[in-house]
């Protein structure tokens, strides 16, 4: 019996992984060869998916990207014994793209069967929870505070401070809410964790529950992620069956219950207060802050709202200690960030690294430049509300403060690459158009400002009173930045103004001297 690993990750499936599985099963059976195919998470080297890994006496040997039409020649060449073939890659962990990562949060993704709890435990899973069960709530919070972990959803708020606020908010009922509404273009790290190692998220949420005295958790998952929904529900069922969720977690007398709730295609529900409204069964209208969700959150109770990666980073912190995690990174950006290389890039994928590497290193050394082979012109970092960064800024280190210093946003580390064919006036217009489409409508600068923004950009591009309308666009962006209730309207000016400032020629304006 030969063990093979072929991913169940959405991106692998989108390239035909399921068909490859079927072809190998059928053709191996026809040859009388017995194979067991484990459906793992993705290693995150997406230009090599569908990736087939074969377990041999010398470790795993990988082949990729494998298409159905390659299966016959692979079996013929002896791929089941790890032999040579044009698609032979050797040990995937020895490729620089993988080897040079710091995989803390993603330690297990791609290694194990994501929904097999025994695999999880055998690969250091639930060690953080075991430690947490022996600590006082304040001691758990201290570990998270000491780690320097900041919200990985984009806002980078210190996680320990948020937890401490909920810990100290007296209430009979508190909640842990996981924001899994990963709606930003260029991001897929949340999805990869949920599909590739859902137990690490479940463990992180359970630890959060112990830390602040919350007995109920919800994962608010976007409806565009059906495979994540399946994996999470399978893992949650296994956690209940093995005493890792429920009324008496590992005989500790502690309770934590967890449920997945589906969103319904509203980008704004990734904003934490809008998300809470949606969980309560309402329109996803943004709430005024204060009160903070940590004080008045879900159903009016103190609530931790954390992103998937933030929560999934907690188990390693509780396992190895806050200091271990804090020793990675630079400045005030501690630990690792799972960077996501997307768009027009030759080697797209997941690259978890300590903060501090430069954008250029990531784009060229690992990303291999653009997919089209043309020069890279603009890179949007941090999602649709992040700034466009130009070539002259590529030496900026991937660090929250360094990006803020160039009026950009590192955010969740999603990186979308555009080659020289991009029209930046189109991208600026799209940013406003997206805000029109997705604004919740509660505040005027966002709801109406975005519509006026599309119109003003159109007038500039059409050559109507260019200078006057450029002043007007800047003024409008100022109003949106300072007058909007949340980041939707407040940060839409980032892509718009960065496009205007760095690429004025695309708007028909004079280039910078």
């Amino acid at each position: 019996m030969t063990r093979l690993f072929i991913s169940r990750d959405s991106t692998a499936l989108s390239l035909g992984a399921e068909q490859v599985v079927t072809a190998i099963q059928q053709q191996a059976a026809a040859k009388g060869q017995s194979v067991e195919i484990v459906r793992n998470g993705s290693r995150g080297l997406f230009w090599l998916e569908p990736l087939v890994e074969v377990e041999t006496s010398e470790g795993r040997v990988a082949y990729g990207p494998v298409e159905v039409s390659d299966v016959a020649s692979l079996l013929e060449a002896g791929a089941l014994e790890g032999k040579q073939h044009p698609l032979y890659l050797g040990n995937i962990e020895e490729l620089p793209y993988f080897k040079n990562q710091d995989r803390l949060t993603f330690a297990r993704v791609g290694l194990t069967d994501p929904v097999n709890i025994n695999d999880y435990i055998a690969n250091d899973g639930y060690r953080g929870l075991k430690n947490a069960l022996n600590l006082q709530p304040a001691e758990i919070v201290k570990q998270v505070t000491d780690s320097g972990l900041r919200g990985r959803g984009g806002a980078a708020f210190p996680t320990g401070i948020k937890w401490n606020t909920v810990l100290n908010a007296p209430a009979e009922q508190k909640y842990i809410v996981c924001n899994a509404d990963e709606g930003d273009s260029g991001t897929f790290s949340d999805r990869m964790i949920m599909e590739g190692d859902p137990f690490v998220l479940i463990e992180g949420m359970t630890i959060a529950g112990l830390a602040v005295g919350a007995t109920q958790g919800y994962i608010y998952l976007r409806v565009e992620y059906p495979h994540a929904q399946i994996a999470l529900n399978q893992a949650i069922a296994a956690a209940y069956a093995n005493g890792y969720l429920g009324d008496n977690i590992q005989n500790s007398g502690k309770t934590f219950n967890l449920e997945v709730r589906m969103g319904a295609g509203a980008y704004i529900c990734g904003e934490e207060t809008s998300l809470l409204e949606s969980l309560e069964g309402k329109r996803g209208l943004v709430r005024f802050k204060p009160p903070l969700p940590a004080i008045v959150g879900l159903f009016g109770k103190p609530t931790i709202v954390n992103n998937v990666i933030s929560l999934a980073s907690v188990p390693v912190i509780l396992d190895k200690g806050g200091d271990f995690y804090r020793d990675y990174g630079m400045g005030r950006s501690r630990g690792t960030l799972p960077l996501q290389l997307a768009g027009n890039i030759k080697h797209p994928g997941l690259f978890e690294a300590a903060f501090g590497m430069t954008l250029r290193e990531l784009l060229y050394e690992y990303g291999g430049g653009s997919a089209s082979g043309r020069p890279i012109r603009a890179v949007q970092v941090g999602g649709p509300l992040g700034a466009y960064v130009h070539e002259g800024q590529f030496d900026t280190p991937l660090d929250y403060e360094a990006f803020a210093a160039i009026s950009a946003v590192l955010g969740h580390g999603g990186i979308v690459v555009h080659d020289e064919t991009v029209n930046m006036a189109d991208m600026a217009r799209y940013a406003m158009e997206f805000c029109v489409e997705e604004s919740c409508g509660k505040c005027t600068p966002c709801r109406i400002g975005s519509t006026r923004g599309v119109e003003v950009i159109d007038r500039i591009v059409d050559g109507v009173e260019k200078d006057k309308n450029t002043v007007l666009l800047r003024d409008l962006c100022n109003t949106m930045t300072y007058g909007s209730l949340c980041a939707m309207g407040g940060m839409t000016p980032f892509p718009v103004l960065s496009a205007l400032n760095h690429f004025p020629e695309d708007f028909g304006l004079k280039s910078k001297a």
Partner: protein
Amino acid sequence: MQDYQTQKSTVLDILDKHQTMPGNLLPILHGIQDTLGYIPPAAVADIANALHLSKAEVHGVISFYHYFRDTAPGKHTVRICRAESCQSMNGKALENHAKQHLNIDFHETTADGRFSLEPVYCLGNCACSPSITIDNEVFGRVTPEKFDQLLACKGAE
């Protein structure tokens, strides 16, 4: 469009199952759409009644979320990603091709009822843009030619 009387028992059954769940409106709407393919406007009164909400409140929630629909979809729903990553890999050309090929715009259904076309903003498949989904299946690096092939396969079903 089906007669609501034949759908009513399904709606009432779903309402009944979710009666004690906190924040149950979205799960109920998902349940109805998963079963019937859409949320019949006539169901709004039943939902409002069961949840002690006004019809306006229920309608307001349905209309807020892009995913919920109040008309029957085609046999297959095709969603095309319009977000930045897909744009960087010729997503706009794919979008135009799809509209031409199906001879419909976004939010419309082909005359033969086989395909509905919807925009979507990110499928989390940005490493292999441009992306589309057909029903619950996601496809990456979709060229106009691949789009035609995929639809031909589905159309033959």
